[in-house]
Symmetry: C2
Subunit: 161 residues, 2 copies
């Protein structure tokens, strides 16, 4: 899978915000992001997993660190539009992405990315993928180490690339 | 945001598999996808949200319907490599993606996609995003309706596109 990966990127200063226990009904996600759009909040990653009990699930999204307080305020102000159990979050994460055509068909690329981070003791907080990119959220203090480890694992740091 | 969206795609026949209660330690995600890579299982979407209690979280991934049984078997055979509380899943989902440059900065694009689906009573099972694409998993029987609704919402069905 080394030849499949063409690049590694990092975005630091990402804040993560999680809405715990939203109802798994049509319209809930629209209300949450509608409230953020009304305040013109810049949203980067959005992750929602399958509801465990078929009734409620959690929605996480990331914003630039400097939008964190405004985003939390926008959600709290809109709590009449959707129900949730709690809001949690923090600043200071980094999004690390591995890019490569053909990622989708290779569980090997994802597992090697996760292994290269695990070997450095880096914990993966969040995962999201598309056909050509796998992104994870980690503590930003591990950002440079993560990028270096992935570059060297995928042989991207060689001169004759 | 209508001019930002350039296309809507659908992939039917996706099976979703969720590992409930995996440990939130470095190395766990690598073991899970390492076990799938060993069996050369084709993985499409991968979604993991922030651990609620800092201890455990759930990991969901999708495979083509015809790989579902093999993927479940590979996970069960590898249960000595990682702990989990339960495995759940089902076949017959569709991945619906909205594509557009500049998505990242617009909570409006995401909320409008979610609203167009909500208006048809379509429940969103899973969400994952990248900078240029927002993807959701829905019940595949709503697939054509979802694509038609999104095409018409974003004005992509007009001749003079
Ligand atoms: C949780 C949320 O995604 C809900 N299922 C919806 O469709 O809006
Ligand atoms: C849950 C899993 O992602 C774990 N945090 C890891 O780093 O592997």
């Amino acid at each position: 899978e080394k030849q499949i990966v063409s690049g590694v990127t990092m975005v630091k200063g990402e804040a993560k915000i999680t809405l715990r226990g939203v109802k798994d009904h049509p319209g809930v996600a629209a209300s949450v992001f509608g409230a953020l759009a009304d305040e013109r909040i810049i949203v980067d990653m959005i992750v929602q997993n399958i509801a465990d009990d078929g009734k409620t699930t959690d929605i996480t999204f990331t914003v630039p660190d400097e939008e964190y307080e405004r985003a939390i305020k926008a959600l709290k102000a809109a709590s009449d539009r959707f129900e949730y159990d709690a809001i949690s979050g923090s600043k200071g994460s980094a999004k690390i992405s591995v890019i490569g055509v053909g990622m989708r068909s290779h569980a090997g690329v994802a597992s090697s990315m996760f292994k290269a981070l695990a070997d450095k003791g880096i914990n993966i907080q969040l995962i999201t993928t598309s056909e050509i990119k796998t992104s994870v959220l980690i503590d930003e203090e591990y950002g440079e180490l993560a990028v270096r480890s992935l570059h060297s694992f995928y042989g991207l740091d060689k001169e004759e690339n």
